[in-house]
């Protein structure tokens, strides 16, 4: 059957748009969750929406599963091939089709890099707000599939809040044209498709909303002698009248790792640091900095540094952005978690993680989007030590359960993919999972598009997996991760 499919595929796409030999297929065997690998049957690199429709119709007719892939920077295995699948690589569809500076939107193909949009919009004083850490490489199609976040979503929202329209193709090859205006006609399928992890349709065109670049941004670096004081400061900042453009936290272990790695000038005696950014008009920024500084001091900050120039702002951020590579120097392996919790629970959950760390005998450092309550605990371990991997996995399981018990979520921005399938069973009951399955069937009754992702079968629920980094060998080591 696959021979007949491959033969038909060769008639559908030109040779340069197909990858069929085992050697070149290796490049597509995993995304950034590299612990899981499988060789696809073939890789198709469509150059147009027509190509996507033709390929999907063909795969549907031959009952071949299809997995779409952007830049392969995802951390949850959303683009991991299913054995024997057709991998649909969207990288050739990377044209920015239209940018309207007055109407403030850009029409882009799915393979356009996130950062390329802001670069194109820059000359008009505009930018695309969602900024996942992999933004120099990750594509907008993947951002839509994962509802990607970033450092600035506290004020500017996630991908779903910054889209105006989508074109997408279902497994049967039907074209969906969604959105386009600020009001919806019919069901909000644009919202449903965003974050659907490539299970419902393949995105072929994205209309992103562009925002005017704020006139000014300044960041405060606040040091704390107690982690709990920093956590309290987060809750108080969020509860105050000012909305930080970004509010990030690093614990003392991370600060010292970053200093060893980069010499960013962070105070190494701090138990925790907060980076709190204000942006807007100069008047807004000035007032916000005054108010935020007051809240930070009242919460017990021992030292505040406020950026006085754009260069200084970038310098204060540099350490935060180097936290993941710095962590990779601390231990042969680490697991990166992605829990999401109410901000008032940050202190409690950090204390809980610290006591779990003692219980498991494994270090865990914390660096995360505190303002959003989106934790990224990094569990340090050595896979070569007998039993450490299993202990680290169990530790991670307990952190995920802790987040859910605080009313939070197993994933804030990385997605479920194959990595957090088991966590889905902790998050949802059987009826809710059944509802996800019914929605999937409404788009793709044969279950051919990105099968085995996002929705767990109930018997899977005992196992857990995490992003596994061995000896600092992150896939895409050139990308910042924060």
């Amino acid at each position: 059957m696959s021979e007949a499919f491959l033969s038909a595929l060769r008639h559908t796409l030109p040779a340069e748009a197909l990858v069929l030999d085992a050697e070149r297929l290796r490049a597509f065997e995993c995304d950034a969750l590299s612990a899981y690998r499988a060789l696809p049957l073939a890789v198709a690199l469509p150059g147009s929406e027509e190509d996507v429709i033709a390929v999907l119709q063909l795969a549907h007719a031959h009952r071949i599963p299809v997995v779409a892939r952007g830049a392969g920077t995802g951390l949850s295995g959303g683009a991991t091939p299913t054995a024997g699948c057709l991998l649909l690589g969207m990288s050739r569809m990377r044209r920015l089709l239209y940018l309207d500076p007055l109407a403030r939107y850009a029409l882009v193909q799915p393979g356009v890099r996130n950062q390329a949009i802001s670069e194109a919009a820059g000359p008009y004083g505009l930018y695309y707000a969602p900024d996942p850490s992999s933004q120099i490489a990750c594509t907008i199609g993947g951002n839509v599939a994962e509802n990607a976040g970033g450092i600035h979503c506290l004020k500017y929202g996630l991908t779903v809040h910054n889209l105006l329209g989508l074109r997408a193709v279902t497994m049967e090859g039907e074209l969906l044209e969604l959105g386009g205006t600020l009001d919806c006609n019919g069901y909000d399928l644009l919202a449903l498709l965003t974050g659907s992890e490539g299970l419902l349709a393949v995105v072929t065109e994205v209309t992103v909303r562009l925002l005017p670049r704020p006139q000014l941004a300044r960041v405060i670096l606040a040091s704390f002698a107690e982690v709990s004081h920093a956590a309290d400061a987060v809750a108080q900042l969020v509860g105050s009248g000012a909305t930080p453009a970004a509010l990030e936290m690093m614990d003392g272990a991370t600060v010292r790792a970053v200093e060893d790695f980069l010499h960013a000038g962070y105070p190494t005696d701090a138990a925790a640091l907060l980076l709190c950014e204000a942006d807007g008009t100069p008047e807004e920024v000035e007032a916000d900095i005054v108010q935020m500084s007051r809240v930070l001091r009242a919460a017990g900050a021992s030292e505040l540094r406020v950026s006085g120039s754009e260069a200084e702002r970038q310098q204060l951020w540099a350490g935060r952005k180097a936290a993941f590579p710095a962590a990779a120097k601390l231990a042969p392996d680490y697991y990166c978690m992605d829990g999401s919790i109410p901000r008032a629970a940050v202190g409690r959950v950090l204390a809980g993680i610290a006591s779990l760390s003692a219980q498991y005998g494994l270090a865990c450092i914390n660096v995360f989007h505190a303002g959003d309550g989106n934790l990224h605990p990094l569990i340090l371990f050595d896979a070569n030590q007998a039993g450490e991997l299993a202990r680290a996995e169990q530790f991670g399981t307990d952190i995920a359960a802790l987040c859910v018990s605080e009313g939070g979520a197993i994933t804030g921005e990385h997605g479920v993919g194959i990595e957090k399938l088991d966590g889905m069973c902790a998050q949802f009951n059987a009826a809710e999972l059944g509802q996800f399955g019914a929605i999937k069937a409404a788009f793709d009754p044969q279950g051919l598009l990105n099968p085995g992702k996002l929705i767990p079968t109930l018997h899977r629920c005992a196992e857990y997996g995490r992003m596994h980094v061995h000896r600092g060998q992150l896939p895409h080591p050139e990308l910042p991760r924060f």
């Binding site: 205006t181 019919g186 008047e283």
Partner: protein
């Protein structure tokens, strides 16, 4: 109360009997009538949890928007999407089901953007929770946001968690006397620059620009933008509440349309009186019912759509793309297999 609602839905499902969800009935006259027995949600009310420091409020569907807004305002916060409260009667459940947002929508997001999570009863009476109380949550399909604007056809919303924002320290309105074309152009130019905007609406030759933020920022913007102060007090409040004259029930043979258009779309059907909101993105148009076809065609060719929102002649469904209609029917059956929820009369 919840168990009563669940029992009624289970029974309706078992018997394939349509039910129509009723909150406070505040939007009667604004939507097509629905089939079946009334399922009253209005008494399933009350704020469950409000943590100002968390910027999250949780409430049952029957809670009045006015109550929520008052509680939020007492802590210096607001529902930033500014859903209309229809004279203080509208419920949270109805506001979510219709998904209508107010003048702040282009800057602060739509009703669906403020929703963090829901509890629903689906068409089989199963109690389900999607999303939650946290800011970021990408676990599973986003069925909570899908509920917004679905008009109750995908499930009965019983409870919701919403993100709230601080009230601006200062809010002021500047008025510019401009014809429609120039008003749309100016509003969009202002949107494309980093001004502290929170409203841009035009009616009767006057463009009103609302500025929100801290006192110094608003003062500077006001000085640089120019314009006149607004002699009509609370104009934006009345726009949000849909209490301006433009929203009055139309006479016989007349209709009130809601046009959703690209914001920069030049004046469309300018011979008919209109109220332009969202810097051009939403336009309320009063016209004879005989013009229905022309209005629909114009809106579609401009890249948007037109919905007849008020008339004495009913609510004809706007023409839709058949692929999307078929998909939406399948989605509906996924959540409400017997299509008992809020079925339109005649369907």
């Amino acid at each position: 109360m919840l168990t009563d609602l669940q029992a009624q839905l289970r029974q309706a499902h078992a018997m394939s009997m349509p039910v129509r969800i009723v909150g406070a009935g505040s939007k009667q006259g604004w939507h097509a009538p629905q089939q079946g027995e009334a399922l009253h949600v209005g008494s399933h009310a009350g704020i469950i949890d409000y943590a100002p420091a968390e910027r999250v409020i949780s409430a049952r569907a029957g809670t009045r928007l006015a109550e929520i807004q008052a509680v939020l305002a007492s802590q210096g916060q607001m529902l930033a999407a500014e859903p209309p409260d229809f004279g203080g009667h509208a419920t949270l459940g109805g506001a979510l089901a219709t998904g209508w947002s107010g003048p702040r929508r282009p800057w602060a997001g739509a009703m669906r953007d403020q929703l963090l999570g829901v509890e629903i009863l689906n068409g089989q009476g199963e109690l389900l929770r999607f999303g939650g109380r946290v800011m970021k949550n990408v676990a599973g399909f986003d069925l909570s946001r899908l509920m917004v604007g679905a008009n109750g056809t995908l499930g009965l919303i019983t409870e919701a968690h919403l993100k709230v924002l601080p009230l601006p320290e200062v809010e002021t309105v500047r008025v510019f006397e401009l014809p429609q074309t120039d008003a749309i152009a100016l509003a969009n130019r202002l949107c494309a620059a980093p001004w502290p905007l929170s409203g841009a609406a035009w009616q009767g030759g006057l463009l009103r620009i609302r500025l929100s933020g801290n006192a110094a920022a608003v003062a500077t913007a006001q000085q640089q933008l120019g314009g006149e102060p607004d002699v009509e007090r609370h104009w934006f409040t009345r726009l949000q509440a849909m209490q301006l004259d433009s929203f009055a029930p139309p006479g016989a043979e007349q209709g009130l349309w809601r046009l959703s258009l690209p914001q920069t779309c030049p004046p469309l059907l300018a011979d008919y009186p209109q109220l332009i909101d969202w810097a051009g993105g939403r336009r309320w148009l009063s016209a004879p019912l005989a013009a229905a076809q022309a209005i629909s065609t114009s809106a579609r060719s401009a890249g948007g759509h037109a919905l007849l929102q008020r008339s004495q002649a009913g609510w004809p469904a706007a023409p839709r793309n058949p692929t999307l209609l078929a998909l939406e029917a399948r989605i509906r059956r996924a959540l409400d297999p017997r299509q008992i929820l809020n079925r339109r009369q005649g369907d």
